[in-house]
């Protein structure tokens, strides 16, 4: 290494960043310098990059299967939009698409805000022990699988022996079969999602609240703000960037209505109400062996998800100046 490069490297390590002058050196040297300065971060990023490449980017290439007839040996046969035609002609597909959109929208409206409220609530609990107890209790469902959760909900909502109907009957309500009624099953889906994820998801917002400068609260108090006013005028604005980012990311996952959850909560009585694209792809693709048709359905879902995230990002940029890239 020449003396200039050594000086440059020293500058980089001293200041923790690549100086502007590095742009004038050849890119290989600049890259080497950046690598030397930032290698621990690159090392930490590597597993994540590999994960996304292997499980999210390489499979994009295989999405071409949606336009082909699949062959295990030999080349697949290109068939154009045949599988999309089959999909859109399928009597069930638009029902499945509608269910996906409805369930995702319900989750967005009723589940997304809950972790924010929980984080705000936990932040207001002054007793450390009580706060820890509440946090442990609401994080717990996150570690249960949907198989277990479905079992719990089916048992709890049983019209003959479930605790929910027992309480309902004690209050004078007639027993209801929540798991088999068309009108209630989507609410069961939403509530079970909320029960499982809201506590855990509140962690991010709670962390964002912890990062708010305490001087802002002191200043608000000096101005005579009460606790409610401090929440509205200090805490909420402080976590708005986090809320915006997570909202946009959630919009990107809008079409992921929750395969495991729906699969485990589903039954013959209400399948037409909660059958979503993912469960449809599973049935058609894996159980019936129609891999190309299933890929077409999955690709359709992916394209809608991409359009949604770009749209949400663009709108957010225009309205708040903040986006995810």
């Amino acid at each position: 290494m020449s003396l200039d490069e050594k000086q440059l490297a020293s500058t980089v390590s001293n200041f923790g960043n690549v100086p502007k002058s590095a742009k004038r050196v050849p890119w290989r040297i600049a890259f080497g310098l950046k690598l030397r300065a930032w290698w621990p971060y690159y090392a930490m990023m590597t597993p994540g990059i590999i994960y996304f490449l292997v499980f999210h980017y390489f499979p994009i290439y295989q999405a071409k299967l949606a336009f082909e007839d699949f062959r295990i040996f030999g080349d697949n046969l290109f068939v154009g939009f045949k599988h999309f035609d089959t999909l859109f002609d399928s009597p069930a597909f638009f029902q499945v698409l509608a269910n996906t959109l409805i369930i995702s929208a319900m989750k967005m409206v009723f589940v997304f805000p809950v972790p924010i409220f929980i984080a705000l609530f936990i932040n207001e609990v002054r007793s450390t022990n009580l706060r820890r107890f509440i946090q442990s209790a609401i994080y717990l469902p996150h570690f249960l699988s949907w198989v277990v959760i479905a079992g719990i909900f089916i048992a709890a909502l049983s019209p003959s022996s479930g605790v929910v109907n027992d309480i309902g009957q004690a209050l004078g309500f007639a027993p209801r079969s929540f798991m088999t009624e068309s009108g209630s099953i989507r609410w069961v889906v939403v509530f079970s999602e909320m029960w499982r994820t809201a506590g855990w998801d509140s962690l991010l917002y709670f962390a964002a609240i912890m990062a708010i400068d305490p001087q802002l609260y002191d200043a608000a108090e000096m101005d005579g703000a009460n606790r409610w006013q401090k929440i509205v005028h200090v805490t909420l604005p402080g976590i708005t960037p986090t809320i915006a980012t997570l909202f946009i990311l959630n919009v990107g996952l809008f079409m992921n209505a929750g395969f495991d959850q729906i699969f485990n909560l589903s039954n013959d009585a209400i399948r037409d109400q909660i059958d979503i694209i993912d469960t449809y792809v599973y049935r058609i693709g894996l159980q019936s062996g129609q891999f190309s048709l299933a890929t077409a359905a999955g690709l359709f879902k992916g394209v809608i998800g991409m359009v949604l995230i770009v749209a949400a990002h663009t709108i957010s940029k225009r309205l708040t100046g903040k986006g995810v890239w």
Binding site: R71, I72, F73, T86, L87, D89, S90, P91, A92, F93, I154, S158, P159, S160, S177, M179, T180, N267, D268, A269, I270, R271, D272, D275, Y280, Y282, R283, I284, L286, Q287, S288, G289, Q290, F291, L293
Partner: protein
């Protein structure tokens, strides 16, 4: 010098051994099998290898095991990688692989077999005629209705023999307190998930005698939109409304079904004839010491058995280099020696032997044949492996066997078949639960045709001439 000589000698011996080993390995082909992974498999395959060597057809068998849970899905994904073993055990999704020419036509192999051709059951022969890629030499998986024999005695009733007696019998069961807990909390009958297990014993009573029925004008229609189906669903609606059918059947899986059966919350359940009925009997005796099971006869016979193809079984990879050895393994397992190994389990653990006298040990309840249970006219075990009730259920299946006229759907209709199936299943619950009245039948029929049923019917009319 000495060290060099020693090393040269060792190298020469090692080379000679490796060459010799190579020659031996060439003589003994290796057959790979992909199937469920079970405890004791390694020992079983060792015994099969020894048995085949003794019979003059030595092979090495390598099991590629997959967990039982989610087996069909895991298998599909595994095969999609292009690494396909010589023998494949399928539990569905085999048709796509057969369509692609991956699976060997077993017809000619069976024709030339030493044992399999004689060991098959009649339904196996019919299925192999229609779909020669999958072989499963087992009794037809008919369902049998069973209940606690002491409850049957307590009721003072004769076992029902026709539909009216069945209705009266199930009503009595649901209105009594045979479990003695002081409450009338026992349902007459329970079928988990859907009405499929009820259909197994009630289809014939209402004229649902096959998947496709001829209507008044001689046209083929699916039984699911027939008057016979309507009458059957009206009957189920009555069972549900009168508290005879467990109203939570649709949210009950097979584990819940068993739990309710052993704990006295349901009187009658259906189980797959043979080994499954045996398991129910064993578990019932464990939960209620002294309790045994009684086998009930269906009111008018069992539902028709699908002979379009096996719904599970063994296939051979069409491009395998060891097809001959692979089929030799399957054929050996149908031989008397192979059957003995596969069905009797391990001596000292599952049975004892004193000369020609065999005794079954309790652990036999946890053993089941991995490959075949051949037609008893061809080979019978030296000792009864099943209890009377389980054996009776197999005989019941043989007695009421009726071949169905269902066929394998082409891949192009997969979306229609799926849509029609989902529509039917949802509609059935709505009729049974009373959410829909039977007056809405015509509306349902119209919906079924719109939900893919018309495409299915059009195709069926070209197949069923």
């Amino acid at each position: 010098m000495l060290a060099r000589n020693l090393m040269t000698t060792v190298a020469a011996v090692a080379t000679a051994l490796s060459l010799g080993g190579g020659v031996l390995a060439q003589d003994t082909p290796t057959v790979t099998i992909i199937a469920h992974e079970n405890p004791g498999d390694a020992e079983l395959f060792e015994r099969i290898e020894a048995g085949m060597a003794e019979a003059g057809t030595p092979v090495n068998i390598e099991l590629v095991g997959l967990p039982s849970s989610g087996y069909a899905d895991a298998l599909s994904l595994r095969l999609l990688s292009g690494e396909i073993p010589d023998i494949i055990y399928f539990q569905g999704a085999d048709a796509e692989f057969a369509n692609q020419g991956i699976l060997e036509d077993l017809g000619p192999w069976i024709e030339q077999s030493s044992y399999i051709k004689d060991a098959m059951w009649p339904h196996n022969e019919a299925r192999m005629e229609n779909y020669p890629y999958l072989l499963y030499i087992f009794p037809a998986r008919t369902k049998s209705a069973v209940m606690r024999s002491d409850w049957l005695e307590q009721s003072g009733l004769e076992a029902p023999t026709n539909l009216d007696e069945w209705t009266a019998f199930l009503t009595e069961m649901s209105q009594s307190d045979f479990d003695g807990n002081g409450e009338q909390d026992t349902f007459g009958i329970l079928a988990p998930d859907n009405t499929a297990e009820l259909d197994a014993i009630f289809n014939q009573s209402f004229g649902v005698s096959a998947t496709w029925l001829e209507d008044g004008s001689g046209e083929w229609i699916h039984s699911r939109v027939s008057d016979a189906e309507r009458d059957k669903l009206a009957y189920y609606q009555m069972l549900y409304a009168d508290g005879i059918l467990d109203p939570e059947y649709v949210t009950s899986n097979w584990e819940v079904k068993e739990d309710k059966f052993y704990s006295g919350r349901v009187a009658v359940i259906m189980g797959t004839a043979g080994p499954v009925v045996e398991i129910y009997r064993t578990k019932m005796a464990e939960a209620n010491p002294g309790a045994d099971l009684a086998l009930l006869a269906p009111p008018d016979g069992l539902e028709a058995v699908n002979v379009a193809k096996e719904d599970r079984g063994y296939a051979i990879h069409a491009m395998s280099e060891n097809k001959e050895a692979a089929f030799a393994v399957l054929d050996f397992l149908a031989s008397p020696e192979g059957q003995f190994i596969d069905r009797m389990g391990v001596e000292g653990e599952h049975y004892t032997r004193d000369g020609d006298t065999f005794e079954v040990l309790p652990a036999m309840g946890g053993w089941y044949p991995r490959f075949w249970t051949v037609d008893p006219g061809y080979w019978t075990p030296p000792v009864d492996l099943l209890s009377d009730v389980a054996q009776g259920s197999l005989e019941q299946g043989a007695e009421y066997f009726v071949a169905d006229n269902a066929f394998v759907w082409p891949a192009d209709l997969a979306a229609d078949v799926d849509a029609a199936e989902q529509y039917y299943r949802t509609s059935v619950f709505r009729f049974v639960s009373g959410e829909w009245s039977m007056d809405q039948w015509d509306q349902y029929v119209e919906g079924w045709y719109a939900a893919g049923g018309q495409a299915m019917t059009d195709h069926a009319r070209t197949v069923l001439q």
